[in-house]
């Protein structure tokens, strides 16, 4: 946070960040919010995110006191859910850090709780009364952003393009943004356009891969209804997978663990339950794709061997 200390002293930026060539490796520090699902069920997302962060000079600080974001608990009790989010905001605030999250759902829950705390004095008082036994205070000082948004805003597709080490051109992918990356619009301060999103397309294009547009681009993965109705969740995810069946894409690129669980982990189950032929369509998390383009080891650095269905055949051309 804060301005560039070199610029403040009139010293030329050695990394060329000020000239838009390299990027600044100083002061880019974020509290990493892992959430419940990623570290347990999709550790390759965390692995790849940490690798690209190191490569790009973004410092991700681990704060062990953070816990679940509360996005499911609002179903039972809205205020309890907000309190859980506020607890996490307070921990990061304590360290003077803005937060970066990997999961769309966590990003939404935390950003929305912050928005409400800022705009609703009564709620803020209630939350701080409840947080005080834990020795925490939440003012909603720092923003919460998704990792992809941080990549887009703090580094930018243009700079990413200048760092490529592997040629991925020729691959074609279907981007999936995920609902909570875009909505509610007010909470995200107008970042991207919920009805016609572009940022993930641009981030993908920066890696040299071409990102298609397709009819069900905006369709929800259904992950949040999985615990209560497998039929609804699978039918929703099935709609998008069917749409992509004859689009000749090499893989889906997405940026959320819940979406990955639907389109990747459950892909086979979905085809089976809906009585459809298998898809065998690999699903990559965006940091895995960026990592590939930046020259990371696909297995040791990005955990591609852990993805279902396996994307390893995509890599044949590099060996």
């Amino acid at each position: 946070m804060g301005g560039c200390i070199l610029a403040a002293r009139g010293i030329e930026c050695p990394a060329g960040a000020a000239q838009g060539v390299g990027f600044c490796r100083m002061g880019k520090k974020y509290a990493l919010f892992l959430g419940c699902t990623t570290p347990i069920k999709v550790p390759q997302y965390e692995l790849a995110a940490r690798w690209i962060a190191r490569r790009l000079g973004l410092e991700l600080v681990d704060l062990d006191d953070m816990a679940c974001c509360g996005s499911n608990q609002i179903n039972l009790d809205l205020k309890a859910g907000l309190l859980m989010a506020a607890m996490n905001l307070a921990v990061a605030e304590n360290h003077g850090l803005e937060m970066v999250a990997l999961c769309n759902g966590c990003t939404g829950a935390l950003a929305e709780a912050r928005e409400q705390i800022i705009n609703n004095e009564g709620l803020k008082d209630w939350i701080n009364r409840k947080l005080s036994p834990l020795g925490l205070i939440c003012q909603g000082k720092y923003p919460v952003r998704h990792l992809s948004r941080v990549l887009y805003e703090d580094i930018g597709p243009g700079r990413l393009k200048k760092m490529l080490r592997r040629d991925l051109s020729g691959f074609k992918t279907a981007p999936h943004y995920g609902c909570h990356y875009l909505k509610p619009k007010a909470v995200y301060g107008g970042f991207d356009e919920p009805e016609n999103p572009k940022t993930l397309h641009q981030l993908i294009a920066a890696t040299g891969v071409s990102a298609i547009d397709y009819e069900t681009l905006l369709l929800c993965c259904g992950g949040k209804t999985l615990p209560n109705s497998q039929e609804v969740a699978f039918s929703l995810a099935g709609l998008k997978l069917e749409n992509l069946r004859d689009k000749r894409v090499d893989f889906i690129t997405l940026q959320c663990n819940t979406c990955y669980i639907m389109y990747g982990l459950n892909q086979n189950n979905i085809a089976q339950k809906l009585g459809l032929p298998p898809y065998d369509l690999p699903v990559l998390l965006y940091p895995q794709l960026l990592g590939l383009a930046l020259g990371a080891d696909p297995v040791a650095d990005l955990g591609l061997h852990l993805n279902t269905p396996s994307p390893l055949r995509l890599l044949e051309r590099f060996y």
Partner: protein, 237 residues
């Protein structure tokens, strides 16, 4: 106040796809049976989207992804509503429960929310505008008893597109909260609460993933169960 789980509802795994499976099992799903079917249920034709070779071979020109009524829980009734005896104050109770639910009464019944709702698309019985009308009419009991209120995928397309700024997502959350207080919380959410009290995360700790994190040299996760228990009891859950 401790929340109680509702009977067997919410156990997604145990559900099957009775009607869809039946249709597909016929292998044929001839046009007539689809037509008969559509008399009873709305359905979605995906012929523009789906060009599935295997099914074309079987002479099916169009295929349907659709859902039957869920195998448990009470569907929303189609009978005329008797307005007397309903709690006309229910909507005020909902609107007062949460700042973002206040715009409840601004609804024009234009149906934009339902038209854009992905759950409505695959499961037409789930209908945001219909549920809003039920709230307006005071059909509290019907809503509380219904499994449908728990099917929202939380995508927020309804509020994104509503011309009146009605936040159906938040309004439905208020209804779910009230249903939970009245003892209708689905077991899936209740067991997540139990889990949170133990580890601070919604999944149980399993040896396999602990080992996998170690293999990947990812740092071990801290157990925040105690902290979370305190927080949840502060919140009255």
């Amino acid at each position: 106040m401790a929340l109680l789980a509702k009977g067997a509802a919410g156990k997604g795994e145990s559900r099957s796809f009775p009607c869809l499976t039946a249709l597909l099992a016929k292998g044929a799903a001839d046009t007539q049976s689809i037509k008969n079917y559509s008399k009873r249920y709305n359905y979605i034709k995906l012929k523009d989207i789906i060009k599935d070779k295997k099914y074309n071979q079987r002479n099916i020109k169009e295929k349907i992804i659709m859902l039957s009524e869920p195998s448990s829980g009470e569907p929303l009734s189609d009978l005329p509503i008797k307005v007397s005896g309903l709690d006309r104050n229910f909507r005020f109770k909902v609107a007062a429960s949460y700042p973002l639910a206040q715009e409840l009464n601004a609804c024009l019944t234009c149906g934009t929310c339902s038209a854009g709702c992905p759950v409505h698309r695959v499961f037409p019985e789930y209908d945001p505008m219909k549920m809003l009308r039920m709230i307006h009419l005071g059909m509290q009991e019907e809503l509380f008893h219904s499994d449908y209120i728990w099917y929202c995928a939380t995508c927020r397309t309804c509020e994104q597109r509503c011309p009146q700024g009605v936040k159906f997502f938040d309004i439905l959350n208020v209804v779910k909260n009230l249903a939970a207080q009245a003892g209708y919380a689905p077991s899936a959410w209740i067991s997540q609460l139990e889990q949170l009290r133990q580890t601070g995360a919604v999944f149980p700790t399993e040896d396999t993933w602990v080992a996998r994190r170690r293999e990947l040299s990812l740092r071990p996760l801290k157990n925040n169960g105690e902290r979370m228990s305190r927080l949840l009891s502060e919140a009255g859950l």
